[in-house]
């Protein structure tokens, strides 16, 4: 867990009060749940909090917005301490998961709401709101009530409303979750553009790895209220450190002790890799690297050979994902034809092989 240590060391240097951007250690205790997340980001950064349901992502977001009080830690934005500042006085904009556009106000008045609260006159606030709506390509929907907007339009109005208060921290809670698949694709690329233009810190919460990887420069993976890994999307995709992340990016992941090219897995069997390493390591390989055989293969070069039992089958596009138990728990992808030829069914016994060249080992 060196990543966490690194984070702690990073934030330790955040004592410089003039430091721009976000510097936070969020401690929230509620009943038996404990959130302890350190977050730092420079202006212009887009950070994604990624994690399973109940990991504490939304709690972290609410704490940043001031909607949930901190039990401890600190929260600094552009050098100013925000802990104890009520939400209405924080330079923080929030795009809520279901947008929470005020149903009785038009799109224009929804966007003008923030500037009005900041003391702008009605006409000025409306002019500013019209500008934001135009920027979002929604000029012709300015007079529409939220219930007459499509999901994608509502999302953009919510984004305009949050940006119109010129926040120094923009928070987005599952910004694309409420959209259907087709709109999502379109809105995702638009959101990416708007986030790229945004000059301050943006933090978004999502459980969708694709959203996180497309939208964010940096991922912070949270499980059980703690940061389990953080880094660039490509780094995390290549070097997952928990089963959750491995599943998200579609990899089989094992932890073990390596001695040269052989890794003795914590799960039991040994595994041969191409990278020579010593000490605690992770080994990962994609389900497509697994080959299944009916009989014990003879004359194969694969040294990674395990006797397994099919525990479940699932269709993934034109592929079949087989969940295997037995000597080693793993996921294997194969074509429908291959699955039929092998006569796969839950409970069937198979042999699984993985070429060493298709595995990837890295220090834990």
């Amino acid at each position: 867990m060196t990543d966490i240590d690194k984070t702690a060391a990073d934030t330790g240097s955040g004592d410089d009060p003039a430091r721009e951007g976000l510097d936070a250690r969020l401690l929230v205790e509620r009943g038996s749940f404990r959130l302890d997340v350190a977050l730092t980001a420079a202006p212009g950064d887009v950070v994604a909090l990624l994690g399973p349901n109940g990991a504490g992502k939304t709690t972290a977001l609410r704490a940043l917005a001031g909607l949930t009080p901190l039990s401890g830690g600190r929260l600094r934005l552009d050098g100013a301490e925000l802990d104890g500042t009520p939400p209405e006085s924080r330079p923080v904009g929030v795009v809520f998961q279901d947008y929470l556009l005020f149903p009785h106000l038009s799109a224009l008045d929804n966007v003008a709401f923030g500037p009005r609260c900041q003391g702008l006159g009605k006409a000025q606030a409306r002019a500013l709101a019209a500008e934001w709506l135009a920027r979002m390509g929604l000029a012709e929907h300015a007079g529409a009530k939220p219930r007459r907007l499509s999901g994608g339009q509502a999302q953009r109005v919510a984004l305009a409303r949050a940006l119109a208060i010129r926040p120094r921290l923009l928070l987005l809670d599952e910004p694309l979750a409420a959209l259907d698949a087709r709109t999502r694709l379109d809105i995702r690329s638009q959101l990416r553009r708007h986030l790229a233009e945004f000059e301050a810190v943006a933090v978004l919460v999502t459980h969708d790895p694709l959203d996180a990887m497309v939208l964010a420069d940096r991922l912070v993976v949270i499980e059980g209220g703690r940061v389990v890994q953080e880094g660039s999307p490509t780094h995390i995709a290549r070097h997952p450190r928990t089963d959750y992340i491995a599943q998200l990016v579609g990899l089989n992941l094992y932890r073990g002790r390596s001695d040269g090219h052989t890794v003795r897995l914590d799960a039991g069997p040994a595994l041969t890799t191409t990278e020579p390493l010593t000490g605690e390591v992770f080994v990962a390989f994609p389900p497509s690297a697994v080959t299944l055989h009916r009989e014990r293969p003879t004359g194969t070069s694969a040294r990674n050979l395990w006797r397994c039992e099919v525990s479940g089958l699932e269709t993934h596009g034109d592929q079949i994902r087989a969940d295997l138990g037995g000597e080693l728990a793993l996921a294997a992808d194969l074509t429908t034809v291959a699955a039929a030829e092998l006569g796969l069914h839950p409970g069937a016994e198979v042999w699984a092989t993985v070429k060493a060249a298709q595995t990837h080992a890295y220090p834990a």
Binding site: G93, F102, A162
Partner: protein, 287 residues
């Protein structure tokens, strides 16, 4: 009671914009007898007195009855006091409903129960209680009298106080129900946009719960209009000053039954007008 809950429910549906539930209906012929017979008996029971009122109405002398000064005086006073009592209920009741629905404090459940007490309390008891509190020698009334020279009992203001005491709980319950059904996260969204909690209430919550507030106001107004027991106990029965329609009806019944019927018909007409005003909320919302 039930009607106030109905309102909040209907308001809740409106707020959520949820789909209206479809109900399975059959013809009256399909209704089982053990339900149909008492249902029809109940219907007759409720309608018969109203029909009797119309049957016995002195239609020939009606114009004179209704144009008498006393009738107009009483009607004017009734409408005025009921409206004022509703206004008092709104100003005090909506914030109270907000407090009950949106904040948490020790004894909140007890406070809520106490607020609804006037709903079940016999109005005469309410009148006596008001005298003990605000009467010339009352717990607070004696100070009002000696410090500010304000006397409430047996004045028009006293009528408003008595009516508001009885009517406000209807409004509080109705508005509280609507508030509970409204999503509090809209208020959170407003605060993240820089609105103080009061601004969030005024510009976001209040418009959202407006249908519930309107329904609660009509309920409170109707209750205030019909108020008898607390009014006569606390404010007395002085024509032109504290004699509202219900008091006038009761008094007339002893001296001039025909006048009582005429006055009753006026109140019936007002009630029907209120019902017609609420038609969209109750009669169609339930169908």
């Amino acid at each position: 009671m039930t009607s106030s809950y109905d309102t909040s429910g209907a308001a809740a549906d409106t707020l959520k914009g949820g789909p209206r539930r479809r109900r399975v209906r059959t013809g009256v012929r399909g209704a089982p007898l053990p339900l149909l017979v008492p249902a029809l008996a109940g219907l007759v029971f409720l309608l018969l007195p109203l029909v009797a009122l119309l049957v016995r109405a002195p239609w020939s002398t009606m114009p004179e009855q209704l144009t008498s000064t006393e009738v107009w005086q009483a009607l004017r006073l009734s409408l005025l006091c009921a409206t004022a009592a509703t206004a008092v209920s709104l100003v005090l009741g909506v914030p109270l409903a907000w407090l009950l629905a949106r904040t948490d404090f020790p004894g909140r459940g007890l406070v809520r129960a106490l607020v609804t007490l006037p709903l079940v309390l016999p109005p005469v008891v309410g009148g006596v209680a008001l005298l003990m509190a605000l009467g010339r020698n009352g717990v607070v009334g004696q100070w009002l009298d000696s410090w500010f020279g304000i006397t409430l009992p047996f004045t028009t203001a006293g009528v408003v106080v008595a009516e508001a005491f009885v009517a406000m709980p209807f409004l509080v319950i109705s508005v509280e129900g609507t508030l509970r059904a409204a999503d509090p996260r809209y208020e959170e969204a407003a605060t993240t946009l820089g609105a103080s909690r009061f601004t969030a209430f005024r510009r976001v919550t209040l418009p959202l719960i407006a249908p519930g507030v309107a329904a609660g106001s009509v309920l409170a107004w109707a209750r205030a209009l019909g108020e008898f027991g607390a009014t006569i106990t606390f404010a007395g029965n002085f024509p032109g000053r504290t004699q509202t329609m219900p008091l006038a009806v009761y008094l007339a019944l002893q001296n001039d039954p025909e006048a009582a019927i005429a006055l009753s018909l006026v109140l019936l007409a007002v009630s029907i007008a209120v019902l017609a005003g609420l038609r969209d909320r109750w009669m169609t919302a339930a169908s």
